[in-house]
């Protein structure tokens, strides 16, 4: 051919080009003609469709608002949900107590050893032990100051019991309960109009004398007032995350369930659970590189964020990351080469068809490369098409204000890149193993596949573990982690928020910041290192394959 007067370089290059074209084309047609190729590619499409179906289903039902802190429940069935009762400081476990119910206010007491031991006033007397000489008695007071002493409340409508008739002992406070009539009413009435009270609770004006060793307390009941019952839905997403993007103390207790006075006066365990000395705040801490390290929230602050706003976004990202790592890199990335690349050269030499190809003026090393290129042409276009379809569908129906989520595309491109690199690396490894050990190669590839699978799972859960670094899947997953951080810078933030405010979307499982950043925390470094690593392995494997194939005697 070189007699035709063309320049040497041109001839060499165009000829190379044509040879490559011929072998690539042959390889593609060969793969296309195999049933198993279609089965495998079809199963891959099926898998992705299945995931998409689940995704669409979960989007269709919208991101349901979840009551993260559980304060929309009404445990005592008084019609006021926990959140509302918290704000009014009433208990959600006593249906007597509810917002607007009258409340007992303590005024004073006679302790076991106080002096003097009598007191006059118009009060609500609580657990009074002693002799009460009334000026007036409010027989309509039926509210117990504390729920746990409800039994001691005197029910005046039952009528009075005469102390003389019942026959009190010399020390009436000792054995009062032995008399069933008195025990049922907690009091009795002397003929002189003085009552003797056995730890009873009542309201009235008069003088109370308490015997030594006994005690009594008094106060008043506030007026009860009507408080409108809040619907439960008001306590879902009621305390969104307040953050202006800076570090330090942030956050505001929108629903007021942290700022309640009583809590603050107590031991700080609730209102300053992050121990930064500020009540009811959220501490956002950054490291020296300006990377968010931790979010520590006081209890009941920003505890129930807007799920549509936060969960929607983070579940969408979880889907993208999870699909990328597991469906694309681990399943497609591993099984496509197992089915398609293992026999690229090995099958040819087993069938004897290699003789046709090698009797042409083509270098054996070139031959391996072109075969791999042919395989890559099939799987790369397949991957790119599949990724594009998923990317377009999810970016249109995914959460967000814009019609298309443009920020998704770099991530999908990263996933495609990672998958393609994995396909290349596994393809060249399997091809080379098939060449070196035509007999045992396949078994080794199978065991190696299981190893990669295992290491991939490990990497997803604990990316910093050392042993998985010996696998390709580890580095491929690193690429996705890095690209996610590049395209969605706030993924760390979302993850931290998810952890700090109880937004469970799985993002903390599927995504971790990239590990191999050489201490810089820069995702580009991790992306570069991982890409170079996988490429180096691929090239190394092709080189080894070429070296061995060149010196291989073909029978």
């Amino acid at each position: 051919m070189d007699e035709q007067g063309r320049g040497l370089s041109e001839t060499v290059w165009t000829q190379l080009d044509r040879k490559a074209g011929a072998i690539v084309e042959l390889t593609i047609r060969q793969l296309r003609n195999r049933m198993s190729t279609w089965v495998v590619l079809g199963v891959g499409v099926l898998l992705i469709s299945l995931l998409l179906a689940f995704y669409i289903d979960s989007i269709r039902t919208d991101f349901e608002s979840i009551d993260n802190d559980g304060d929309s429940e009404d445990w005592d069935n008084d019609g006021y949900p926990l959140g509302q009762e918290r704000i009014y400081g009433t208990s959600d476990y006593e249906n007597q107590e509810f917002p607007g119910s009258s409340e007992y206010v303590y005024l004073g007491d006679i302790d076991y050893n106080d002096q003097p031991r009598n007191h006059y006033g118009n009060h609500t007397w609580v657990a009074a032990w002693g002799y009460f000489t009334p000026t007036s008695i409010d027989v309509n007071a039926t509210t117990s100051p504390y729920p746990w002493i409800e039994e001691s409340l005197i029910v005046w409508s039952l009528g009075a019991v005469s102390c003389e008739e019942e026959g009190l002992s010399s020390n009436p406070f000792e054995n009062w309960y032995t008399n069933p009539t008195i025990a049922a009413r907690n009091h009795c009435l002397f003929e002189n109009g003085t009552y003797i009270m056995f730890g009873s609770t009542f309201t009235g004006e008069g003088d109370l004398f308490v015997e030594p060793m006994y005690s009594s307390e008094w106060g008043f009941m506030t007026e009860s007032f009507f408080v409108e019952k809040h619907p439960k839905s008001m306590y879902i997403d009621e305390d969104d995350i307040d953050w202006d993007g800076n570090s330090g103390s942030q956050g505001f207790d929108d629903d007021g369930d942290c700022l309640k006075d009583e809590y603050i006066t107590e031991d700080n365990s609730q209102s300053d659970s992050n121990r930064n000395g500020i009540y009811c705040d959220v501490e956002w801490s950054y490291d020296s590189n300006g990377v968010l390290v931790q979010i520590r929230a006081d209890e009941n602050v920003d505890e129930d964020p807007d799920d549509a706003k936060h969960i929607g976004e983070s579940s969408h990202r979880t889907f993208v990351i999870g699909t990328g790592k597991i469906a694309f890199v681990m399943i497609l990335g591993l099984f496509l080469p197992l089915f398609l690349a293992l026999g690229l050269v090995r099958d040819e030499s087993e069938n004897g068809t290699l003789h046709y190809l090698l009797s042409k003026p083509i270098h054996r090393g070139e031959f391996i490369l072109y075969r791999l290129l042919g395989y890559l042409a099939v799987v790369v276009s397949y991957t790119v098409i599949l990724v594009s379809i998923v990317a377009i569908i999810t970016s249109i129906i995914g959460p967000g204000d814009s019609i298309v989520r443009l920020s998704d595309f770099p991530v999908w491109m990263g996933i495609a890149l990672s998958t393609i690199l994995v396909l290349t690396a596994y393809g060249s490894i399997f091809n080379t193993v098939g060449l070196v050990m035509p007999k045992y190669g396949v078994y080794i590839c199978m065991i190696y596949g299981i190893w990669e699978f295992l290491m991939g799972l490990f990497t997803i859960t604990i990316p910093s573990a050392t042993i998985p670094m010996l696998s390709i899947s580890h580095w491929a997953i690193q690429i996705i982690d890095a690209v996610v951080l590049i395209a969605w810078e706030d993924t760390s933030l979302i993850q931290q928020k998810a952890d700090a405010f109880g937004l469970e979307t799985g993002i903390s499982f599927f995504w971790h910041p990239p590990v191999h950043t050489l201490e810089t925390g820069n995702p580009f470094v991790a992306l570069l290192i991982s890409t170079v690593f996988i490429l180096a392995i691929s090239i190394g494997m092709v080189a080894i394959g070429q070296l061995i194939f060149r010196n291989k005697e073909i029978m």
Binding site: S36, V43, F54, A327, I331, F339, M446
Partner: protein, 337 residues
């Protein structure tokens, strides 16, 4: 005796004899005497008929079975298992019986701090379940790989090499053929899975010197576990043989088996983690078995879908696989495909 008449001008007659008329230990070509050949001659082919007695059907079937199973130990006259495959199966077997070693240590040195060894490896519900159905490493590394290796060329090799003709040109029916292939695979899998399970239980009792009370307490659990392991062997054999019967290369069936086991599991896991529904686990043979096994052994179920779905799916998988297997074998050509 001049030969010039017939020789050198290309009229030489040679015949490659398909069947020798002698005992067959001579060379297989019949040389025609030249003079007669020039005039034309018809040669008698004397086939010696064999009038011995055919072995009964099950003796023939046993021969098929033996061919496949004994090949694990010696390839002389049996199916050749690649030495690498044998080695891997050995490693898997050792891995499967490793708890026995731990039990042995615990019987020698005591149960470790807080009975740690007994808790980890002793006989109890979850360990009996785990001995067969635990995910790591048994169902992640051991059983699928074992099945893939054993099942790989079981039928596909016959299709590829046309050796099925050797069976079907003899008095072996396709039913017997399928049955024996199935049995061979099941026995090899059973040897590793069920045998290691039984050895584990038995030796646990021996090493710990347990009495009748222990036996009575744990026997129902053991039997449930045994049932699980039999179901596992049956399911994996069905799926594996079905794949072997539809493929022409042993590697396709092996890799296809692995991809079914791992692929379904992983997709179901992905969906479970993201969308909080465990329903997709019914696609995964392993998870259906694990679900059923949890119920049989009285463990807490960690799948949120109904058990009956798993059982139905398990039955479906087996039925579909066997239908594929039977239909493929019945259409297996007696020539090389």
């Amino acid at each position: 005796m001049s030969e010039d008449l017939v020789d050198l001008d290309g009229g030489q007659t040679r015949m490659e004899a398909a069947y020798g008329s002698d005992d067959g230990d001579n060379d297989s070509s019949a040389i025609v005497a030249k003079e007669e050949a020039a005039l034309g001659a018809i040669f008698e082919q004397n086939y010696r008929s064999w009038d011995g007695n055919l072995g009964p059907r099950w003796v023939r079937n046993y021969a098929i079975f033996r061919h496949h199973v004994f090949g694990l130990f010696t390839s002389k006259g049996h199916r050749n298992y690649n030495p690498f495959v044998r080695l891997t199966i050995l490693v898997i077997f050792i891995g499967a019986v490793s708890p026995i070693a731990m039990l042995f240590f615990s019987s020698l040195f005591g149960g470790g701090p807080d009975g740690f060894i007994d808790k980890m490896w002793g006989v109890n519900r979850s360990n009996l379940w785990g001995q067969v159905l635990g995910y790591f490493p048994r169902n992640l590394c051991y059983w699928p790989l074992l099945t893939a290796l054993v099942v790989g060329g079981m039928i596909s090799d016959d299709r590829r090499n046309g050796t099925s003709a050797i069976y079907f040109s003899r008095p072996v029916t396709r039913v017997d053929y399928t049955l024996m292939k199935y049995l061979s695979v099941a026995v090899v899998l059973g040897f590793v899975i069920i045998f290691s399970y039984m050895a584990y239980y038995t030796l646990a009792i021996v090493f710990k010197g347990e009495g009748w009370a222990f036996l009575i307490d744990t026997l129902p659990m053991f039997l449930s576990g045994l049932l699980c392991s039999i179901l596992l062997v049956i399911t994996y054999t069905s799926i594996g043989l079905a794949l072997s019967s539809i493929s022409q290369s042993r590697f396709f069936s092996a890799i296809a088996f692995l991809s079914i086991i791992y692929g379904t599991k992983l997709v179901a896991l992905l969906v479970d983690l993201q969308f909080e529904t465990s329903i997709l686990y019914i696609l995964s043979p392993y998870d259906c078995l694990a679900h059923l096994g949890q119920w049989l052994l009285g463990l807490e179920l960690n799948y949120s879908h109904s058990l009956s779905l798993s059982i139905v799916s398990l039955i479906l998988m087996n039925v579909v696989s066997i239908i594929i297997l039977v239909s493929r074998v019945s259409s297996l050509e007696v020539t090389r495909e």
